[in-house]
């Protein structure tokens, strides 16, 4: 088990290295003149010189790369080329919004997708199965932002049931501390606002979670059906166990395994989809910031955001793989 974890950790090192090279090239190896590429119409000789100075573009490439890596290791993720504000200043304000959104979407996707998949598997080939298959087909075929717009239209514009823009009622004038608004409002004892934040979360979480939901439902269905045909499930029935026990203990304990892996892989899609969802719902998160940064050609911001998202993805999947190994005695005891 320990050996497995160590091996898994070591395997991420080349990926991190590759990632750093790609992201380094993203800013330091721009096609064409970096001043034109980054500054565009803001280009003046002075601004250009400052940019070259800040990015160290006058140094040899390998020095630039080592500087970049050194900076990252010290926790220096660069600064905006527009206003020179360090990356984390703004990131730390916006990141909690993205975390709340993606976690809510993941909870929705897992919480609905897995039961749907189990239901479909139990009634395989029946009409319930067909319905679930149709839902998941629709889920993977509808873009996040289209679903988002439709949800806004139905539940916001037409029915007026739920707020559709932002993370919290702006007029309430709430001053967040950590920017995890659910946490902040709860800590402040403002339960009315806590509910308000939750209500703001619902539509974006559904929009963002729909694709992972569809994928999770599919894999759960497939996994449960596959496990149900295993010999040991027949053994369990032959022992006279109740159907419920066969299901929970013998089928699900095995069916979980591929599902956990797939859930881990969804985190990448969620972080990517957050960019679109935040745009639809005027959500103050990292995603919208990145879109703005691209508009301003603020490449260091884009660079560091990609890095952080990729790191999150790698770490989550590392945890998932270790969890998988733990759930699976064939790996745990080897």
């Amino acid at each position: 088990m320990l050996k497995y974890i160590v091996r898994r950790l070591l395997a991420t090192i080349p990926v991190l290295l590759g990632l750093s090279i790609v992201l380094f090239a993203f800013v330091h190896l721009l096609p064409g003149d970096p001043c034109t590429a980054i500054l565009g119409q803001r280009q003046t000789p002075a601004a250009c010189a400052r940019l070259r100075e800040n990015l160290g573009l006058n140094d040899p490439l390998y020095v630039q790369y080592l500087d970049y890596i050194g900076g990252l290791l010290r926790g220096d993720f660069g600064a905006s080329v527009i206003n020179s504000k360090p990356f984390f200043d703004e990131f730390s304000v916006r990141f909690p919004g993205t975390v709340e959104l993606t976690v809510a979407a993941l909870i929705f996707a897992v919480g609905v997708g897995i039961p749907l998949g189990r239901l479909a598997a139990r009634h395989a080939q029946g009409w319930i199965d067909g319905l679930v298959t149709a839902i998941s087909l629709f889920g993977i075929s509808i873009p996040v932002f289209v679903l988002g717009l439709v949800l806004v239209l139905i539940f916001g514009v037409t029915l007026g049931w739920l707020p559709t823009q932002g993370r919290i009622e702006a007029r309430a004038g709430f001053e967040p501390t950590t920017n995890f608004l659910l946490l902040d409002t709860a800590l402040a004892g403002r339960w009315d606002l806590f509910v308000d934040v939750l209500r703001h979360l619902i539509l974006p979480a559904i929009a963002l979670g729909s694709i992972p939901l569809a994928i999770i439902a599919r894999i759960t269905r497939a996994s449960v059906i596959e496990v149900s045909n295993e010999d040991y499930v027949r053994t369990a029935r032959a022992k006279g166990l109740t159907e419920r026990r066969v299901d929970d203990r013998h089928i699900m304990r095995n069916a979980w395994l591929p599902v956990t892996t797939v859930v881990g892989l969804q985190v990448g899609g969620l972080l990517g989809g957050a960019v679109l969802t935040e745009t639809v719902f005027g959500w103050n998160g990292v995603g919208r910031w990145v879109v703005d940064a691209i508009g301003n050609r603020d490449l260091t911001i884009v660079q560091s955001t990609i890095l952080v998202f990729a790191l999150i993805f790698l770490i989550v999947n590392l945890i998932v793989d270790v969890g998988y190994a733990f759930l699976n005695p064939r790996i745990r005891y080897s």
Binding site: Q125, N229, E230, D231, Y232, R234, T235, A236, R237, A238, K239, G240, L241, T242, E243, R245, R249, H250, R253, N254, L327, N328, P329, R330, Y333
Partner: protein, 368 residues
């Protein structure tokens, strides 16, 4: 009254490719403590017969479409699911072919043994655990206290099958069905496991249905043998009688198609030509007709039913009735059974009737 009485059991599978006639009216009886062998090529319906009496056919394709199963005075096919569940594992237990896949890989041996016991007896976990240890000891697993905490993948194939036996016998069932229990094991292990199985069922007075495609396995272990072909029992006899006087062409074929340790020079090896019939059609005549060298004209059109063999004074019976039965229009004589083919002068197997031949060719080539 017999322990198990299966009457005219019919099982079919409804699949996308059509209906599969897996078991076509099988009847047999089993006394308490008796040992019965069920033999036949793979695909002939042995497993399905026994899954059906456990009511564990794969759903929703597999259906029992006729017959009765009386176990210990109970009509199993009319019991509720909950009543049936009470019987499974407790009164009737099963061991499957592949010990590698028959144990749950994510549960410890202890969890799997204890849950079996506690599904049927109101005992504490500690008591169940003690019983589990005793069971592992009984099947010859060393240091059972330690091995209880292991997972299946930490055992060898033979050891896993021993665990399966321990689990099956945990509640001292009246009937144990062992479906090819040694097929997946090393030859050297096979004998040990069979031995254990034989010894424990004899000691416990447990009736045993031993399913196998290997006549050698049943020879030494069973009191009676049913030979199955294409979902029918084609010959049934007490074991010594079956080996001494095989009376159905298929049984004769089986005995001649495989080399024996005691192979004599004058005994030829005669393989059974052709393949079992397509189970997607109920056969018109004898299901063995296309492969049979004894067949008559009538065999193509009339499916013979089981009838007592008229073997005169040599007939061995264990009960009041004649117990050697075959389903055949033209049974081989004793001489022919030894030779492995018809020896009557001038005898030729009846050719297929016109129209039937094309069908047979199609069947032999497999479905489109």
């Amino acid at each position: 009254m017999s322990l198990l009485d299966v009457r005219d059991l019919i099982v079919r599978f409804r699949t996308a490719d059509g209906t599969i006639h897996a078991v076509n009216g099988v009847s047999f009886e089993l006394e308490a403590g008796e040992t019965l062998g069920l033999v036949g090529e793979s695909g002939c319906g042995k497993s399905v017969t026994n899954l059906a009496l456990m009511r564990l056919l794969p759903k929703p394709a597999g259906r029992i479409e006729g017959g009765q199963v009386i176990f210990d005075g109970l009509d199993l096919l009319t019991l509720s699911e909950a009543e049936m569940r009470d019987l499974r594992g407790k009164e009737i237990a099963m061991i499957f072919q592949d010990p590698m896949t028959s144990l749950n890989p994510v549960l410890t041996i202890e969890e799997q043994l204890v849950e079996t016991i506690r599904a049927h007896r109101r005992v504490s976990k500690a008591d169940a655990r003690r019983r589990a240890i005793a069971l592992l000891e009984m099947v010859g697993i060393p240091t059972p206290e330690i091995r209880l905490r292991s997972f299946p993948h930490q055992f060898s194939g033979g050891m896993r099958q021993r665990v399966m036996i321990a689990m099956a016998l945990a509640l001292e069932p009246k009937l144990l069905v062992a479906d090819e229990p040694t097929t997946a094991l090393d030859v050297t292990i096979q004998a040990q496991v069979l031995d254990l199985l034989g010894r424990l069922t004899t000691e416990g007075g447990t009736a045993l249905i031993l399913i196998t495609h290997d006549l050698g396995v049943v020879a030494g272990m069973t009191q009676r043998i049913n030979v199955m072909y294409a979902g029918y029992i084609v010959e049934t006899a007490p074991t010594p009688e079956l080996f001494g006087h095989p009376s159905h062409p298929y049984t004769v074929g089986l005995l001649h198609s495989i080399p024996k340790v005691t192979q004599r020079d004058d005994e030829e090896l005669i393989p059974i030509e052709g393949r079992p019939p397509d189970m997607r059609q109920a056969p018109v005549g004898c299901p063995f007709a296309s492969r049979c060298t004894w067949r008559l004209e009538v065999c193509w059109t009339d499916n013979p039913s089981l009838r007592p063999v008229q073997a005169g004074a040599r007939l061995v019976t264990t009960g009041p009735e004649a117990t050697h039965q075959i389903a055949c229009h033209n049974p081989p004589t004793a001489e022919e059974a030894t030779a492995g083919r018809p020896v009557r002068p001038g005898f030729r197997p009846a050719p297929a009737p016109a129209g039937r031949m094309d069908e047979l060719v199609l069947l032999a080539e497999g479905p489109a």
